[in-house]
């Protein structure tokens, strides 16, 4: 009995988390809405503006360095906003606020898990990445290790992470747009795919960054307005807001304290590890550290990003409680007043609240911002994937570092186009599938394959090519395999009977990440090859550049 309850709790936990992070493929029951005109108009304004940005950026994007890293000329503040934008996805806006709306306090626990990875990125990675890298995190890892095998391995890790995340985003995008704008699913997916191909192919990192910044500012402003209006209604008294919420919510006082979502400490800690260190291994996030001019700006990026993300999550907490008191009590927003279900499905509290505090126009604004959010996030992902193909696989593995820049640029544009088409096809293929698990799987791969190799290449002088190569693949394969034989994929997605999964952990990060680290360590210390000596001897020079920035890639002026 106890096991069954625990199992139920954990499934609820996974479902909520997967909708919350990334655009969350599984948006629950989706009902198509009527065509929303003010939302479409505002979205067209946004698209017009961002295409303008792309045109402006295209004129400034000439070299590979411009394309991959916006010439390294983004400031710490701008980059901080862009990183925060990558993190504030449509579903962290809609999903987190829905979670607070349904469960109260438990929603706050997940916001916290999403934030605490950032300080770790700051303390251990940000400056080091900036000082050692050029375009991708594979540049950092191959600073002293043998390029061909290590780049192939790093590119595998990057592409798996990017593709999983991209599918989840595309499916989430289709469902959300269907919901908010009343468009057909496939039209929504094609529209997102085409726009993202345009932004990335023509405007490169410069356009991608400014689209992300624009969206981050719009989303932060919109969320601030909503939270302000909620607090205004309650005379800026949390006491009054919470009191009213406990009166109208079915769980009464329980919404002000942790409920049943977090009960198994090992699973919880493993999940925390996945989110925390996955953040430090996501290729599209790591790539942003190469867009600033030096270590100091990299530092500032993380500081601002942490500030904006933390602020956003606090707003979400207020918005969730605002929705409890202003949406759940208003029959206009309820599909079934007796059951308390919302029109449009479970992820709609923030959208209805937008209408409750700002009328039709503000509802249109928030819907347009949600669409813009998806566009900005998929563009960043596509750029990271394309860079991995052109810079790591084509220029450095296939052409052994002898490709000329014009060819490399061409390949990166073809790769963007191919990834965009692939994302559209997969987005349509996976429409009816539950892709919620893919977001955590992406984080799990990032934490188990990309992060250990990256961390040890920067800090551990005895790391060798053999260790990094084998360990990287051990992390990657175990991250995927342990998820497949775990309950989420084996039982819920593949449909095998409950309890038949080989391991009963939904969050295997604690195992796969450990396996990755141990394999890297073991195959490095037992490596007596000539190459191993070369790898170890080069650490000193690498560490000097890493610590002081002497010889690091600089910015170009525009």
């Amino acid at each position: 009995m106890r096991n069954i309850t625990l199992f139920g709790l954990i499934s609820a936990l996974l479902l909520s988390v997967s909708t919350v992070f990334g655009a969350g493929g599984d948006l629950g029951q989706v009902q198509k809405q009527g065509v929303n005109l003010s939302a479409i108009l505002m979205f067209l304004v946004f698209v017009g503006g961002t295409l303008g940005i792309t045109y402006w950026a295209a004129k400034r994007t000439k070299t590979a360095k411009d394309f991959y890293t916006a010439g390294g000329g983004i400031t710490g503040f701008q980059n901080g906003l862009a990183i925060a934008g990558d993190f504030m996805s449509a579903a962290s806006f809609l999903g987190f606020s829905a979670m607070v709306y349904n469960k109260g306090y438990d929603g706050l626990i997940f916001s916290i898990s999403g934030l605490v990875g950032w300080p770790i990125v700051m303390f251990l990675m940000a400056e080091q990445l900036r000082n050692l890298g050029k375009y991708t995190f594979a540049d950092v890892v191959t600073y002293r290790l043998e390029p061909t095998p290590i780049r192939s391995m790093a590119a595998c890790g990057s592409l798996v992470t990017v593709l999983l995340y991209l599918i989840a985003q595309m499916v989430g995008a289709g469902q959300l747009i269907q919901l908010l704008f009343g468009l057909e699913y496939w039209i929504a997916v094609v529209l997102v795919g085409v726009l993202m191909i345009l932004y990335v192919t023509f405007g490169g990192m410069l356009a991608t960054t400014w689209v992300q910044i624009t969206k981050a500012v719009l989303l932060l402003s919109g969320a601030t307005f909503m939270a302000f209006m909620v607090m205004y209604k309650y005379g800026f008294s949390f006491e009054a807001l919470f009191t009213q919420a406990t009166v109208v919510h079915k769980d009464k006082l329980a919404i002000l304290a942790p409920g049943g979502l977090v009960s198994d400490p090992l699973s919880t800690i493993s999940m925390g590890l996945g989110w925390m260190f996955g953040t430090a291994g996501l290729p599209h996030i790591l790539m942003r550290f190469f867009t600033v001019s030096d270590a100091k700006e990299a530092r500032k990026s993380v500081l601002y990003a942490t500030g904006f993300i933390g602020y956003f999550y606090l707003l979400i907490f207020v918005i969730g409680f605002g929705a409890i008191v202003m949406v759940s009590t208003n029959p206009e927003y309820l599909a079934d007043a007796a059951k308390g279900t919302l029109k449009g499905g479970g992820n709609m509290p923030a959208v209805h609240l937008a209408h409750a505090v700002g009328g039709d126009i503000f509802l249109g604004f928030i819907s347009a911002v949600a669409f813009a959010t998806i566009l900005a996030v998929v563009s960043g992902l596509t750029l990271a994937g394309a860079t991995s193909v052109s810079h790591d696989l084509y220029a450095n593995v296939f052409r052994r570092g002898r490709a000329n820049e014009a060819d490399e640029m061409k390949v990166s544009k073809y790769a963007t186009f191919a990834l965009g088409i692939l994302a559209i096809i997969l987005g349509i293929q996976f429409e009816k599938q539950n892709v919620g698990f893919m977001v955590f799987l992406a984080f799990n791969v990032a934490a188990s394959a990309n992060f250990p190799v990256l961390l040890l290449s920067v800090y551990w002088s005895k790391l060798t090519t053999r260790g990094a190569f084998i360990g990287g693949f051990v992390g990657l394969i175990s991250a995927v395999a342990l998820m497949i034989i775990g309950p989420t994929i084996w039982e819920e997605t593949l449909g095998f009977p409950k309890g038949s999964a080989l391991i009963q952990y939904k969050y295997p990060t604690i195992f796969s990440m450990t396996l990755g680290f141990v394999a890297i360590w073991f195959f490095s210390i037992t490596d007596k090859s000539a190459r191993a000596q070369v790898d170890k001897d080069a650490f000193e020079a690498q560490n000097i550049r890493c610590q002081t920035g002497i010889g690091a890639e600089g910015a170009v002026s525009h």
Partner: protein, 102 residues
Amino acid sequence: MQPDMVSKVKNHPKYRELIAKRTVFSWILTLIMCSIYYGFILLVAFDKEFLKTPIASGSIITIGIPLGVVVILSAFLLTGIYTWRANGTFDDLTREIKKDVQ
């Protein structure tokens, strides 16, 4: 990087100082952040009753709410502390090393 540059920097006393200071500082901050976060998660898993206690008699707000906010603020505060020290001490040391070797 030229071999003579490597040995010049490597033997520079300020370089050793920089590495020692930054390494210790980074790992201490990492440890603090992890203790705060996992401490919070363990409280949630094992001592829900404590988190349910009202912050003052007569208040509806539970200890859990300000505590959660404190974890969020601490993440920002710790990154701020790191930035402040790195912009001062670490950047000063780096500048001196660069001036001496280049």
